[in-house]
């Protein structure tokens, strides 16, 4: 996941790397994701969110659809086994 000043530089990056433009997220959304994923990472209880939990976290900040679904096979591959 990379950082960009604007949509213009995102488009330049996608073009030069030959990849389609994917969803963009704001820094406020990114911070909320970081807190959801990592706020307890230095504690004994720490664990990665299960797939269903990931979907809930994404949806809570407005990120929905197959791109944000770790169970989706809409992008040419199924999710590997085990917790994502």
């Amino acid at each position: 996941m990379l950082l960009f000043r604007s949509e213009e530089t995102v488009d330049l990056w996608c073009e030069s790397n030959g990849v389609p433009r994917r969803p963009l997220i704001t820094l406020d959304q990114l911070w909320q994701l970081s807190v959801a994923w990592y706020a307890n990472r230095l504690t004994v209880e720490s664990r990665r969110p299960a797939r269903d939990e990931m979907v809930s976290v994404f949806a809570s900040i407005g990120l929905t659809g197959p791109f944000w679904d770790p169970r989706s096979d809409s992008f040419g591959s199924t999710a590997p086994p085990g917790p994502t």
Binding site: L2, V19, L30
Partner: protein, 162 residues
Amino acid sequence: MASCTILEGSAHKMSADADTTIKMTLYRLIAETGRVPDAGEVAAASRFSEADVLSSFTRLHARRLLVPEPGDPRRIRMAPPFSGIPTAFPVDAMGKRYYANCVWDAYGIPAALHADAVIPASDAVTGELLTLEVRGGEPVPLPYLAHFAVPAARWWEDIVYT
């Protein structure tokens, strides 16, 4: 048969306990030093042998909690959100410099440390310095954007690229 099951269950619990202790030791050392230790350093800081730590690293990788350095299982490339090597996402916090694996993890470090941070990141195309900051437990508002090139279902096919 029952005794075998009990022994297997006991062995599983012991390895799970070891994994938790080793993971906590690893993260404590990272937080204290800003550097990701290798298996020998984790062993020296815990009650486990280096062989025990290596076995635990393998199990933690299988659970997607660590990523070993390619070709050198004694070293850790990624203990998310921390990177074992310098990256384009340095994070200055608690008087130390840490490195994150990506822009998500760059915010993840102050989230994990519960600390303020300054993140001298840059635009992925132009290289322009785009400094992010976390102050008082909140990000300083900025108009920049993050782009996820890989869909969630494929993140772990090549997590270093992701």
